[in-house]
Symmetry: C2
């Protein structure tokens, strides 16, 4: 936390409320968290939360939105690269790991969304859109002869992001190693495999 | 469901109660499910559930126990194979995918355990024990010169099972393809990578 002037007591601005709420959602589950729980865990009143948002569903929408927006920015950036599809796919995987490490709580929340509310269903629809874009890139890389042709591109996309996303289960910013190294490892394992070729 | 004589109304035996409870836990989250929710969803009384178990924590323990017991059986079987460590690791991965497909609800429950109760913490401890056994097999395969030496064995184990376990998010027994084919795909992608070697 940077030193500096702050208005009101800590935890009262939207960013603090959002970060606190996302932490509680990840620990207790979104469904299992009430506005009362949030207020108690954040140490503020419910009306202080309602000053910023209409309720917990808006906090979910803002939280998963941050992860989704960042994923689509990466996708756009990578799509604009002048490189073979395989290189773009590798770069997308690398940047996805870096994003996951940088925005761990928000990505974790996104990955735990189940689809019981409108905000969750919208998030799942955007995830499917992202997955379809990855599958399309896989198809291109396959058509260019760089990626194994014997597996359905949608399954390849799911397995690749299954490996990447599993990192939220164990990676911790402190003591989890440098994100760039982790990204290198994952790209190497996913694209070149665990086996040493004779 | 096999035809045959049944005592009482359907859903009253422990196996039905357990399967129903695991389904509800997976849909609503364990924390967010009360005994009242379970009784309503299963269409039976709370006392009918208490006839079989002491409460929802025992249902969790039985549910995750089924997945964990099966994983350790596989581990034992594979450890007994007269084969290089790399072949044993591939076989462990293959059988883990088959187990996941065969016992999808139980494995899904295990993978969503967060550690808020004693039953959950015990399940997490057994998962760590399994992960350590996988990491040990990875180390052996590396020492035998078959597996890339540039990645921490614990990280390799996590990434391999991250890919395998991600299958619970999208695989469905009906329409999800044959489990043996899925297992082949995952072993191929994890061990030989996505890239076609020139």
């Amino acid at each position: 936390m940077e030193a500096g002037p702050r208005r009101g007591r800590p935890g009262h601005d939207l960013e603090s409320v959002l970060r606190g709420a996302v932490k509680v959602f990840n620990e207790r589950g979104y469904d299992g968290t009430s506005m009362e729980d949030l207020a108690r865990e954040l140490g503020i009143t419910k009306s202080a939360i309602y000053h910023h948002v209409t309720g917990k569903e808006e906090l979910l929408r803002l939280g998963v939105g941050r992860a989704l927006d960042a994923l689509f920015v990466i996708l756009d950036e990578v799509s604009g690269l002048d490189a073979p599809a395989m290189a773009r796919l590798e770069e997308l995987a690398r940047r996805s790991v870096l994003l996951l490490a940088a925005e761990l709580p928000f990505v974790t929340l996104l990955l735990r969304v189940r689809g019981n509310t409108k905000a969750e269903r919208q998030a799942l629809a955007r995830r499917r859109e992202f997955d379809a874009a990855v599958a399309s890139l896989v198809t291109q890389a396959r058509d260019e002869g760089d990626l194994r042709p014997d597996v359905d591109p949608a399954v390849v996309a799911r397995l690749l992001y299954g490996m990447i996303n599993s990192v939220v289960e164990w990676y911790r910013p402190r003591g989890g190693g440098r994100p760039a190294e982790l990204a290198d490892i994952i790209v190497t394992v996913a694209f070149d495999g665990l086996r040493i070729k004779p």
